[in-house]
Symmetry: C2
Subunit: 618 residues, 2 copies
């Protein structure tokens, strides 16, 4: 027994030293990167891979594979060394770290099939792990575990504590966090240094099982991981005291070695100190056999329809449509940040409580839950007030790098929400969501259009955003109309249009009223409903630009970066010259007031559109 | 003694009932708002105002006044009722709640002189309170206390826990948080309901003194507030169990009464139940006499200068210039989120350690600290990687509504950072920061320009953002050149310019190289350095548009909402028609690579500019 233990420890030590050596080799070859942040966690990673992780590297799509999220993504050399040790990547490929075209990027991305999500913005791994673990526990009843390796610096991020609260509340015994407490952040000691007891106390107060260990003691690591695997109804946080750069005297527990590669000479010496280059391969335990969770068949989509002329808020139509899409597609899930009665995800919740997730007022966790669900192949819709999506912008930004497929809805957009005032008014969400890599941005103006677009969202890849409106707006489209993403609707057109008005959402009815008023004054206005803000329908815009004397774009948003910018960028993309374009947006900080008052005071009501259009024509 | 206590309790009760009545009266008159969220905290607010708050309502500018931040901003009727009770606003004005033009907005804003910051996006009050308390303790040695009233729902926000960690680490005995645990969120019970012991345990684990009380028991409230006032080296969290809608049977502890005004009839009955309308006035204790903190005189500004042709990273110039500005202006402070050796706020730290604040990796707390410093009249600069400012976008958005004066610097922008990969590359920061109300966005290309702009930032109001570059770029401007905000520099110009190239920051050298190459092919290109991205120099752009066949805009940013959009919006604002405009930005998700490789692969290097310019001319 003693011998067996000793030999296991030798095995772990050899593997850990290999991970250290490889982290040094690859970063020195790259001339940059984070060897010391890799070395502190090498012992933990070795024991995890050799004795606890259950993963079929030959089949990354095995649904019962464990998940490993390296939240401290700057320690990517460790992860790639681990993949080499698992036989998943060759030594040669590992050595292409940080080179153009290599999958061995500076921070991990899902270009590697064993990487679920991009990391490198700290404090995101655990929240996303919560999403993955929730899917496994509540939706799939799958046996996989979710392992998240974190740095100690990132424990300062609030998002980690959103996740801590959520995980214990959801009783996620399948979630195991490991904090690599190496004491040193990028520019010096962390706030808590080696006070592992403080991390543990905080974790316990947040409802977790916490285990403090020496992160370089193999027996302690092994025991802690085994305890964590017991799961039960509590997530586990292993708080491991480690040394940054552990194993190499030159860098061990030294400041000013963050994110710095060793020189060739330093590396040669360090590798010798670590016992030389090794090429051990370890085959992790196989995941448990599938328990054959049955996939429910998709049903027929029956979208709700509304009568022309009825007044319905698009946010309400969103909720009704989401319920319909949920009925047709069993993989659709919804996530709320405690405002489901305002965004109308509550409608979905009533119909499908098992597929509804509540993060309470924690928008970062809401997005992270959606990303985690996307990792497991579900079709998540997450919604809150559009203004509060700004709380999770970094998570949204990173989800694009993670190539996640998530659908977001922001309600209560713009000054038209009225009395609640500017803190609740999204006036930047179009700009924010347009400037997410590969995103889609939709902004419906009526209920039937909303329903159609919600159905399209479910099938759209990437980060898809819908902006909805608080107030009821008239139904102007027939239920049979179609609204392809990337398209637009010309809702007023004649052979002698003098001016073009582009609007979307709440400003579309204003634009139609303005066109009526202009017509009474003898000016024919073309009105374009740019419901697809990104991609924008450049061809239709260009045709209008060519046919009329100028374009008025009107939006319930700051004038920067929103619909107006989208129209201008779309026109520019055609390569043609452009007629005068007048942008109407919210130019001064609004206060409280009625929706109609605020649309007018802020310069985006029908009368302002009329005035702008007249000035272009005259 | 017993009688005196009884009479104090009667006084508190009468005042609390008045606050409840007024919260009901004003919301019923408005037809919307949050009476029940106000009523749960009315007893606490009454005891605070009458017996603990030290504030001269006749002089809101008294530097020793306590601060009161109503983090649960939706309970604004309570705050306005409190201001009425303090004699600061009339009953008539209080009754204008939520009306157009009234200072009694749906959520509090600093249009009221006794309101430090806008609230209404939950979880921001405590982090900002940390900033205010830090200024009082470390910079001003002032006797004021900072009281923050929070809701229980917002304790799910990670930002609260960033603040909890920071406050105890900074030993902020002058900070007192009060959680109004009324059990009910917007759409139902909170995760922790009335488990005040869990909130208290979490607070203690985060290093706070925690006191659990019945929030409707006046003696307990009074005792807890008195204990909290003892301060010492620990912040205090008072966890008060309360009932939403307390005092009125119809709504007390009832679901579906969030954010809903009582009908006129319901209000009449409720007011009777509460003992009728009152108009008590309470004069809070005066703040302690000023301890006469001496203001240091401003010195002469001596900006660093760099020789033409030298290669210097603008981020490094930012740090050197910030140190120079700090030497000249004793009210300049700097805040870091644990990357000061990358953003070069570390240069300021070395020179002025007493005016440097570390929030560790907690970007929301970094912005909140800056806002708190702004509340106290300091001139804060906060810096992190530009990509990670997205983590704090909601705080930035709200700081504009708070009319805060904060200066932000985002380093490591764009693909030109190279090997670290997309998680570290800001590709949306220009769009994000442009769409902040009243913001200023600057993007220097060389060291001398950076220094001049840093100096201007210190004097600029509102939210001011500077984007800096990781790589060293050549110094192209003389130290004597000036760069007014709203201006631009035409760096290449001739009488026969055929095409215009607009660039900024890292793409400016590429544009100059491209112009040289075009000149060799016989095409004269005007090159404009749009260092002031917002406000943009529309006149100079328009002159170039009129003089040349087309414009190429090139930026290290997604093509949406950034410099290209700023140029188009600027051109549109002139009312003129526009020539063809070609936008060059990053159109596909980059990976790792060298800066030069990535500029080229992503389509924004000199050769791509040349190609785009040629196509416009031909």
């Amino acid at each position: 027994m003693a011998t067996e233990t000793a030999s296991r420890i030798d095995q772990w030590r050899e593997l850990a030293q290999q991970l250290r050596v490889d982290s040094i080799r690859s970063t020195t070859e790259a001339g940059s990167g984070h060897p010391t942040s890799s070395m502190s966690a090498a012992d933990i990673a070795a024991v995890l891979l050799a004795s606890h992780f259950r993963y079929d590297f030959k089949n990354a799509k095995n649904p019962n594979n464990d998940h490993l999220i390296l939240s401290k993504g700057h320690a990517s050399p460790l992860l790639y060394s681990l993949f080499k040790a698992a036989g998943a990547v060759s030594d040669d490929e590992m050595m292409t770290l940080r080179k153009l075209g290599s999958r061995m990027e500076g921070h991990p991305t899902p270009d590697l099939p064993w990487v679920d999500v991009a990391t490198g913005s700290l404090g995101q791994g655990l929240p996303i792990g919560v999403g993955v673990a929730l899917a496994g526990q509540r939706l799939e009843h799958a046996p996989f575990r979710v392992w998240v390796i974190m740095g100690d610096s990132e424990m300062a991020e609030g998002s980690v504590w959103e996740a801590m609260g959520r995980a214990s509340d959801e009783k996620l015994g399948n979630l195991i966090g490991i904090v690599d407490v190496n004491r040193l952040g990028q520019r010096g000691p962390t706030a808590l240094q080696w006070h592992t007891e403080v991390y543990a106390a905080r974790a316990r107060a947040f409802g977790w099982r916490a285990i403090e260990i020496d992160g370089h003691d193999y027996a302690q690591i092994d025991k802690a991981l085994a305890q964590a695997e017991q799961g039960g109804d509590q997530p586990t946080l292993i708080v491991a005291k480690t040394k940054k750069g552990a194993g190499v005297k030159l860098v061990e527990d030294q400041e000013n070695w963050h994110g710095k590669a060793l020189s060739k000479d330093q590396a040669t010496e360090a590798i010798a100190e670590l016992g030389g280059v090794r090429h051990l391969t370890v085959t992790p335990a196989a995941p448990p056999a599938s328990n054959g969770a049955t996939t429910q068949p998709a049903g027929t989509l029956r979208l709700p329809v509304w009568e022309l002329g009825k007044k319905v808020a698009t946010r309400q139509a969103f909720g009704d449509a989401l319920k319909a899409v949920g009925a047709a597609k069993p993989d659709v899930v919804a996530i709320d940040a405690e405002v489901g009665n305002s965004t109308f995800t509550g409608t979905f919740q009533e119909a499908f409580p098992d597929r509804f997730f509540q993060t309470y007022i924690a928008e970062q966790q809401m997005i992270a839950t959606a990303v985690g669900m996307s990792v497991r192949g579900f079709v998540p819709f997450a919604a809150t007030f559009a203004a509060f999506l700004s709380r999770a912008y970094d998570f949204i930004r990173m989800s694009a790098i993670s190539k996640a497929n998530i659908r977001l809805c922001g309600s209560h957009a713009g000054v038209s929400i009225g009395e609640d005032g500017p803190s609740q008014m999204a006036l930047e969400d179009l700009a924010m969501m347009r400037s997410v890599g590969g995103s889609t941005v939709l902004y419906p103006c009526d209920a039937n259009q909303t329903a159609r677009l919600v159905a399209e969202m479910a099938d759209q890849h990437g980060i898809v955003y819908m902006r909805t409106t608080r107030a009821a707006t008239p139904v102007i489209y027939a239920a049979s109309d179609s609204f392809p993403i990337g398209g637009s609707k010309v809702v007023r057109q004649s052979d002698n249009d003098a001016v073009t008005i582009v609007a979307a959402g709440i400003t579309l009815p204003e634009a139609m009223t303005a066109a009526d008023e202009l017509a009474r004054g003898g000016i024919a206005a073309r009105v374009i409903d740019a419901y697809s803000v990104k991609p924008i329908d450049a061809a239709t815009l260009q045709a209008a630009a060519a046919a009329t004397k100028g374009i008025v774009v009107v939006e319930d948003h700051w004038p920067e970066g929103g619909l107006g910018a989208a129209v201008l960028e779309g026109l520019a993309s055609t390569g043609a010259s452009m007629p005068p374009v007048k942008l109407l947006g919210v130019t001064k900080l609004p206060g409280s007031g009625t929706p109609a008052q605020l649309l007018d005071v802020c310069g985006i009501s029908a009368s302002h559109i009329v005035e702008a259009a007249r000035s272009l024509v005259s």
